[in-house]
Symmetry: C2
Subunit: 647 residues, 2 copies
């Protein structure tokens, strides 16, 4: 197997897009500053963070006790990673200075042996590295490594990079073949080590990542033995109950795992690291292991919105085809992780099915996690809510009908920040003689072989153009992902290069349109396709979607809210012969979104009996659908994605 | 308002019925002897009961510690009540002797002041009557009173009756206006006191019941104040958290309560006591309060099977129209309680809608609680199960796909025993000049005005006859409940008296057919009606039944099991034009049941993709439906009551 394509650095790309620029700006203007204030305990009414103060105490700059979760450090790391991308997108000397100051504190907190975790430095120094299952030292280390690599790539500054290199060296001295055997309870260090390897080229970081991945599940009793040995527990009272190793994917080796199980974020972080390693080493066996898990997710365990992890218990994957809409967990972070995973798979093999999923996640269940004004966040992304029941009745308590504010365990907002600020890096890869465009996003990209300016009306219209300016020799291939829903045979689907039509079928392989030529300055590729409203049917094995259709237009999944459609959305029906009109919303909070008007029915029963032999009657009505990601921006109301079809 | 009709004693009726005799025999031959052994700790592998031993210890006949739940005594009481009815149905000198011996122990356990609760006698004598919220002394007392009344009525023996009279007197000395104010945490003593009143005619028992009912919710802080005052807690650690008073219906007075809320068994026991009191006193205001709650249940909060209490948390009522099929709690005991409630409402007002619900409960969600062989029991009666998910995944853990054996908290089996052994008492009431027949059950009834022999092919065929032999003057009315699903206009609906057709419409009022004449020996009423397979639609507000139909024939709700219909029952469709054939099952565990063969469809998708634009295709198939009460008798498999209709 060939090695993976090169990653693009965030600073190579400037997003200039009708859809994404605004979301990126919201991250930079609203979320990053807000999170900075939270980390510094400057926001009244928000649960105390103390995260930076913990580093100050560990650094000897402040007196006091550690406060917060055992993984509180990771909040600082995730913020720094977002800041790094944000500085690449839009330089901000003040922000950079404040980030540098925090990095200085982190450096002072680091111990002489390279150890870095404020919980254990401040609170329980004698208990370091004894509880990999629960205490997340490796998880925090991984996030700090990712932040360091990003900060170095964006700013050229290597102070944090060196801190994390010393930390990685400390970990390498302790763990590995012939040393201490162990695996992290929450995967993340594997990703951090791969990022350090990517930036520094140091093989031992990659080897350490491989150890943590391949060690996993070799001894399925590892966490239990660790618990017996140390005789204490971080969460709850010490007990010798057995440990459910499927929860953190330690039940089998990564080569034996054939189902996506357990905590969905841990799972997909691990799969992403596996794919990163497979790509770095050209490791076919490892790529096949990734593919097995990828296929299980996208073919059996993913909501149509891209949401994964359908059960609240353990924020976890459930069983094949068990996808309840009103009880979904579908954590925002898990969908973000799927974008990471898809990116790594794409770098190995430019298969449009990966890009299709990346697109599905980006336009639906990732950004559904944030209110349109950037101020409130969903951790759980249901496909149906019912006010009065959702968030209240047993089984539905995790499913909130409106986005809450900042959480104590605020994992999703900074994860969204690092995704959206780094969006440019997901849009491209370069490999040998080929530039791959994975996403239709308006932008200016400085790639190795060319500068490319993309103009896009996506996701609302199928109209994208690429203006290519080669840097040296113009002989390369531009491979553009064409989403799988685009009907290639449709006469409205047209691709031209400098106005000359391209025979699509001849150039399309596995979802990518391969345009090979000697590119010259200002060569222009135009892509046009129709964007009809589509009905989607779920596999018959998905109980909860039986008899239902979901509505999509382009990459966007739509939903139906009470605000537009009245009470009892379950009584509405989508006609078998659907007529749908797409309308740009010109005012209100949904301004700029394309809404759908659909001819439909409301079922009415004459009697108000609970059960009756009287057949309900159809009454014509016009239904309104809004993009799923934009739901719950107009107050608490009922919402459904999957709608019954008329009988 | 008139006072209620007279109750019939169990011993007045001998069930001789193709459907019910077998179930009654199973209670007498299997469940009562099994429970006796459990109570005596003679069944290896079943959680220790110790219930009789607790009485022996309290009586000073044995040494040892109390063991079991704080309400362990009630297991003995419920068994004795079942035994009492069983002795009326089929005398058994050995059983009666053993019951007498247990009653003797109970008598010895009773304290000189009349107090009787082995937990507090043996374990915490200083804590008597301090924790009405949790400790169920009044609950246990109520069950013992019911047992005593039943035992007296069946055997004429008054030893247990006197024990419970002394107990009631003890309670009356302690609680009431101008004495200690208090209400039980789990209602039941109100029913017990009303039964004692019924048997002894002593007004103060009825007045005590009225106090407990009317005191409820007058001070909504009562349980909290009680907790603060005593400073200890029975379940869990002592805390001063507020108490959710909706859980046990203490949030408002009984006259203010307009929704059925909280623990469904507590609720309906209370409503039943309210109706019993309303009937005994001819109290219109109280009857109206009952009616409000009755209507809320049957119009907004009841499954089509009669199951009530749709949420597992608190085994409780949820919200109007919130009736999830796969997460239903629908406890067997709650459906049994609905039969009690319906009976008391019918005694006040012979309205067929009460009898319809009684019938719905009896043929569906009560007896679904027991395996056909009588050996295993459902506490939870879902309308959909999915093996792998039901009983396992978060939210569905309480929903078992097969009946388990004996539970530690074995409330439902003895409740089924006392329902089914006393079935004759539910079939009739007598009031003034009228005999009411509420149920079509084959039997010989010795009523005040007449001996009536009923022959019935119910529930499988609409063919019932009444042979009437008046006792004195034959001038009375025989009022027979005609189920509301029977089409009165249908030409197959025929009622004759001695072969002479009766003009149905002229005689039918509120679901009862009033036959007034001077009855003579062997007068014969014949009732015939067609029993087509019916499709039922749920109210559009019931989200979980949207687009679905349920199938009934006569009073029996049907369901579809995997064993008969293959995998993925959600992919099956009921045709809009349904053709259904009813077939008597002649072999196997379902022998004697009428099964349905229905022309139907299975939806098939060409692709195995999770989501696809490809419309699923219909494939014709024959569906098999089995009576809901008989589900889960052929191994673990998928089951659904509500089925999608074809599109």
């Amino acid at each position: 197997m060939k090695k993976a394509a090169n990653e693009i650095a965030v600073k190579q790309v400037k997003i200039q897009d009708g859809f994404w620029s605004e979301i990126q700006n919201r991250m930079i203007d609203v979320v990053i500053p807000f999170q900075e204030k939270v980390l510094k305990d400057e926001v009244p009414g928000v649960p105390k963070s103390h995260a930076i103060e913990n580093f100050r105490i560990a650094a000897g700059l402040s007196e006091g006790e550690f406060y917060g979760m055992v993984f509180q450090d990771s909040d600082v790391a995730k913020w720094l990673e977002g800041v790094a991308y944000s500085l690449a997108v839009r330089p901000d000397a003040g922000l950079e200075e404040r980030a540098d100051a925090i990095i200085e504190i982190i450096e002072k907190a680091q111990q002489p042996d390279g150890y870095l975790d404020t919980y254990f430095i401040v609170k329980e120094p004698e208990r370091r590295w004894q509880n990999l299952q629960e205490c997340h030292e490796l998880y925090c280390a991984g996030h700090m490594m990712e932040a360091a690599a990003a900060y170095y790539q964006s700013t050229g500054k290597d102070r944090l990079l060196h801190i994390t290199e010393r930390l990685a060296d400390h970990i390498i001295r302790r763990f590995g073949e012939g040393k201490e055997r162990g695996v992290p309870g929450h995967q993340e260090v594997e990703l951090g080590l791969m990022r350090l390897y990517q930036v520094t080229g140091k093989e031992n970081y990659k080897q350490m990542a491989r150890f943590f991945l391949e060690e996993r599940g070799k001894n399925p009793d590892y966490f239990y033995e660790e618990k017996v040995k140390r005789g204490w527990q971080h969460w709850g009272q010490y007990n010798l109950n057995p440990i459910d190793n499927t929860y953190n994917q330690a039940h089998k080796t990564i080569y034996e795992q054939d189902k996506a199980v357990g905590h969905s974020v841990r799972a997909v972080y691990m799969y992403t690291a596996m794919a990163a390693l497979a790509g770095a080493d050209g490791d076919r066996r490892l790529y096949d292991a990734c593919l097995t898990l990828w296929n299980n997710i996208v073919r059996q365990r993913m909501y149509i919105t891209g949401g994964i992890g359908s059960t609240a218990e353990g924020e976890a994957f459930s069983l094949d085809y068990d996808l309840p809409n009103d009880m979904a967990y579908a954590e925002t972070c898990a969908s973000i992780a799927m974008v990471f995973f898809a990116k790594k798979m794409l770098e190995i093999e430019p298969d449009g099915s990966y890009a299709d999923i990346m697109e599905r996640e980006l336009y639906n269940s990732t950004i559904s996690g944030i209110q349109l004004d950037g101020k409130r966040y969903f951790y759980v992304n249901p496909l149906e809510v019912n006010p009065g029941v959702s968030g209240k009745v047993s089984g539905y308590k995790h499913v909130l009908p409106e986005r809450p504010g900042w959480y104590e365990c605020a994992c999703c907002p900074p994860n969204l920040v690092r995704l959206v600020t780094a969006l440019g890096a997901y849009a491209w890869s370069e490999s040998g003689d080929t530039i791959y465009s994975h996403l239709f996003i308006g932008q200016k990209a400085e790639l190795e072989k060319a500068e490319i300016v993309v103009e896009s009306s996506y996701p609302w219209e199928g109209r994208v153009s690429y203006r290519v300016t080669p840097k040296k020799d113009g002989s390369f291939v531009l491979a553009v992902h064409i989403p799988s829903y685009v009907k290639v045979e449709d006469e409205e689907t047209v691709v031209t290069v400098n106005g000359e039509p391209v025979m699509l079928k001849d150039c399309l392989r596995k979802g990518y349109l391969y345009l090979e030529r000697r590119w010259e300055e200002n060569d222009r590729v135009e892509i046009r396709f129709a964007m009809p409203v589509r009905k989607l049917f779920a596999n018959q094995k998905v109980r909860e979607d039986a008899g239902c259709v979901a509505i999509m237009r382009g990459p966007v999944v739509y939903c139906f809210e009470g605000t537009d459609n009245g009470e009892d959305i379950q009584a509405l029906r989508i006609p078998r012969q659907m007529q749908a009109e797409a309308l740009l919303c010109r005012e209100g909070v949904l301004k700029g979104n394309v809404l759908l008007k659909i001819n439909g029915f409301r079922m009415k029963t004459g009697s108000d009996e609970l059960y009756s032999e009287e057949r309900p009657q159809k009454e014509e009505t016009v239904l309104t659908a809004v993009p799923y990601y934009a739901w719950a921006n107009r107050g608490e109301n009922q919402m459904r994605v999957w709608m019954l079809e008329e009988v």
